[in-house]
Structures are given as C-alpha cells and as structure tokens.
Amino acid sequence: MAAGFKTVEPLEYYRRFLKENCRPDGRELGEFRTTTVNIGSIGTADGSSLVKLGNTTVICGIKAEFGAPPTDAPDKGYVVPNVDLSPLCSWRFRSGPPGEEAQVASQFIADVIENSQVIQKEDLCISPGKLAWVLYCDLICLNHDGNILDACTFALLAALKNVQLPEVTVNEETALAEVNLKKKSYLNIRTHPIATSFAVFDDTLLIVDPTEEEENLATGTLTVVMDEEGKLCCLHKPGGSGLTGAKLQDCMSRAVTRHKEVKKLMDEVFKSMKPK
C-alpha cells in the first residue's frame, strides 16, 4: 500500500517522513550514508580508488603521461579530469557524447582541483618548457544513486594520494626522457578538499547526502567543498530555492564535521595499506 502511495504522490510520501525528522531509508536529516573507500584496485593505472557512498559507486583511475607544458606557463603540468556517466549507472543516460550532467560534473571537478590547489602544478613539471606530466583523471560512475559530486571529489582525492610517479631525467645528449620505473614517489598533496552536498526541500528543509529520488523531488541543491583549515574551495549552488545566510551557516558547520569524518576514514585506509 505504501508502495502505491509512493508512486502516485512521491512528494507527499516524502513529506510524511520529513515531518518526523527522518527519511525513508531510516537516516536522519543530517546523516550521511555509509562511506567506503578502496585504494589501488586498478593495477594498470598509476593511481586509483573506488568510493561507495551508500549505493552510489564511483571509480577513479589516474594515468600519468608526458606532454609539453603550456606556452604561457612553461613550469606547470596539467591535470585533466573527466567524469563519465554511462548508461550503466542510471537509466537516465544514453551512450554517446557526454550529456549535460557529465559535463557539469567534469567542470565542477576541474574547478575543485584548480581552486583548492590540491597539487601544485609546478610539481608536475619535469623540464621547464619541454616536458611535464599530464595526469588524466577518469572518474567513472558505476552506480548513480544521488550525490555524485561528493563521491567524485572523494574518489579523486583518494586516487591522487595513491598516485606514484616514476623518476624522470632528461638526457642532455639525446634530449630524450629516461624513466626509472624502480624509483617512484608519491605526489605532494597539499590540501584535502572534501565535498558535502545538501538538497533543499520545500524551500526550507535541508537534508544531507540526497539519494537519487530525493534529488528529483528536491527544489534545489547545494554543494560545499571545504579543506582542513575550514577554507571553502567551492560553494556550488546551481539555482533552486533561495537560502538565507543563517541556513548557509548551518551547512558550513555540517561540512566541517563531514570533513573530519572523511579525513579520518582516509587516514585509516592509507595507514592500513602495506608500503610497496
């Protein structure tokens, strides 16, 4: 009977739960789904991670290749993110060129990398003006159950921490690069940007970590990306119902607690990994 009501009047069904300050899956309004992360599962990639936020699953693989540095910044390398939302993850997507949601997500991840300065692009330079590393970060969504942006940022961060780049020397005589695969070093990760997403319901209620159904019923979304010093890298609110300054403050404080939870999880995972 409840399933029938849910199909006919999904918003009313939801409101019944929100009135009791909880959601159909039993979570509270400010509670995240179970987050799990797995590092280094892709052997052929230079760095990889798999993040699960409840049912939402995103895998990130990073490949490092050589490239010429940009002419206007000869001492910098590149980081090229790409989010792929394939028909595998949700019925909403068709195969072919990336749709709007994938492009928006890719742009969001590119902005987060740029704004938070998670890695210094100067670290990726091998020989100024001639050779630099290009990190291709592919984020593939395997299962879309809402809150893609949080999962993608976390997957990217975990994969970046897992990347090991071999030492490269440029031979003066032949001008060729010599790669020493035996000597690898980790990237210097300067900050840890963690994203927290909220959905706005009925212009007033804010719920954290929306599932796909909740995202469809919501009147607006908000994503806050924060680093460990409480600095904001990104406040992404693509339209939707209006928010007052006070509500934004609540979101900030929730983002701070979420950052601590995620950082703890990531530190545990990296500590438990056996050094190669």
């Binding site: 709007e100 492009q103 928006v104 890719s106 742009q107 969001f108 590119a110 902005d111 740029e114 704004n115 938070s116 300065q117 009147t219 607006g220 680093d227 409480g230 600095k231 904001l232 890298c233 990104c234 406040l235 992404h236 609110k237 693509p238 339209g239 939707g240 119902s241 209006g242 928010l243 007052t244 300054g245 934004l248 403050q249 900030m252």
Partner: protein
C-alpha cells in the same frame, strides 16, 4: 514602433562606515539596459556593466519536443554562446547555473508542456560575465512577459590577497583576486538563489561577500524598476 529606452545609471554603494581593509566602500560599474531590440524573439534585452555586454533573447512559451516536455510545468532551456570559439564544457556548466536560477523564479506551472528558451550571446567580456548574463536573462524574461515569482539579479564579488572586497570586478581585478564569488539573489527577500565561486576563502569572508552582494542587489533592482518605468511611462 516600440521606442528603445536606454537608461544609464551610475551606482555607488553607501559607505557611511569608515572603510577598513574589509569595508565595503566600493561601487558597481555603470549599468545600461536596452529592451526589445530584436524583432524575432518574444523578448530581448541587452545588458551592459561597464565594458561587459551580453545580449539575451527569450522565445516562449512555445512548442516543445515530446521527449523534453514536462507534464505539469514549462521546460526551460538556456543556451550561452561565447564571443569566440565553440561552446565548451564551461559554457554548459554556466548554462546549467542560469537555467536552474530561472527555473526557481519562472512560474512554469502556468504553462505546462511548453518550452521557454533563453539564448545569451556574449558581446564583450570585461569581468563579471556570469552576473551580466543573469541580469540580461532577467530583463529579457520580463520583456517577453514570462510570468515570474520574483526578479533576480547577479552580483560578483572579488576578494584580493589582503581580504579587501571588490564588487563588480573588471577582468584585470578578477585575475589578480584570490577568490571570485558570483551570487544570484531574488528581489523579494534577497535570498541566495545561485552561487558559484572560484578560489579559496573562509566562511566569514563568504558571509561578508553575501551581505555586500545583498546590499548591491538593491541598487540593481532599483535600476530594473527605473528602466521599466521609463519604458512604459512614455508609450
């Protein structure tokens, strides 16, 4: 023949308070707005902020493809064309921001199974581009007669390295700034409809920029009202 109204207003934000390194003693650039300049779209507007200029055209409510129709409200589409080159991923991202902002204010429920298309063309970019696009879109929607719950405006704030707030930055100021924040605010309660930011900043700075943007939005809304009054009072 519709007379073309051009209104120019120089706006200065009140700075009665002694402006320290974080004081909002800053001004918005000259505004100019021209409506109904294109004959084919149902509504059109050109919005100028200093040297930044955006032309917007609105078609709607019009026929919608069956695949895109929504049974109980209008389908809003936004196309943003850059000045040079083909539209890329950054344009798609901005289109999504503008579209969601318009969806929050346009009363789509009054025109179900129709489409409202907003087309924006960047004529010149001298800083605060997204805010100018939002303002142009709002004026064009008003010109087209699309029913809206409220008006909205875009305001850009830049924070430079020592924390000084700059409203409506030029391209040079944006490049040198530590953080650039763009907000879309609605006219009824000055609530935050849309926000997109670039760079690193603290929570306190965010609240400060938001307050400054809310104060500046008052000037923008007054400008809207004046330009519309001038347009309709003489015809």
């Amino acid at each position: 023949m519709e007379r073309v109204m051009q209104t120019e207003t120089k706006i200065r934000a009140e700075s009665g308070i002694e402006s320290g390194p974080r004081g909002p003693g800053c001004s918005l650039r000259n505004f100019a707005c021209e409506q109904n300049l294109l004959s084919r779209p149902d509504g059109s507007a050109s919005f100028l902020q200093g040297d930044t200029s955006v032309l917007a055209g609105v078609y709607g409510p019009a026929e919608v493809k069956v695949s895109k129709e929504i049974f109980n409200k209008a389908t809003l589409e936004v196309t943003l064309r850059p000045k040079i080159g083909l539209p890329g991923v950054a344009e798609k991202s901005r289109e999504r921001l503008i579209r969601n902002t318009c969806e929050a204010v346009v009363l789509g429920a009054l025109h179900p199974r129709t489409s409202i298309t907003v087309v924006l063309q960047v004529v010149s970019d001298a800083g605060s581009l997204l805010a100018c696009c939002l303002n142009a879109a709002c004026m064009a929607l008003v010109d087209a007669g699309v029913p809206m719950r409220a008006l909205f405006c875009g305001v850009t704030c830049a924070l430079d390295s020592d924390g000084t707030l700059l409203l409506d930055p030029t391209a040079k100021q944006e490049k040198e700034a530590r953080a650039v924040l763009t907000f879309a605010l609605d006219s009824v309660e000055r609530k935050l409809l849309m926000s997109t930011t670039k760079g690193l900043y603290s929570d306190a700075e965010l609240q400060q920029c938001l307050a400054a943007a809310q104060a500046a939005s008052q000037h923008v809304f007054r400008f809207y009202r004046e330009s519309l009054q001038r347009r309709y009072s003489k015809s």
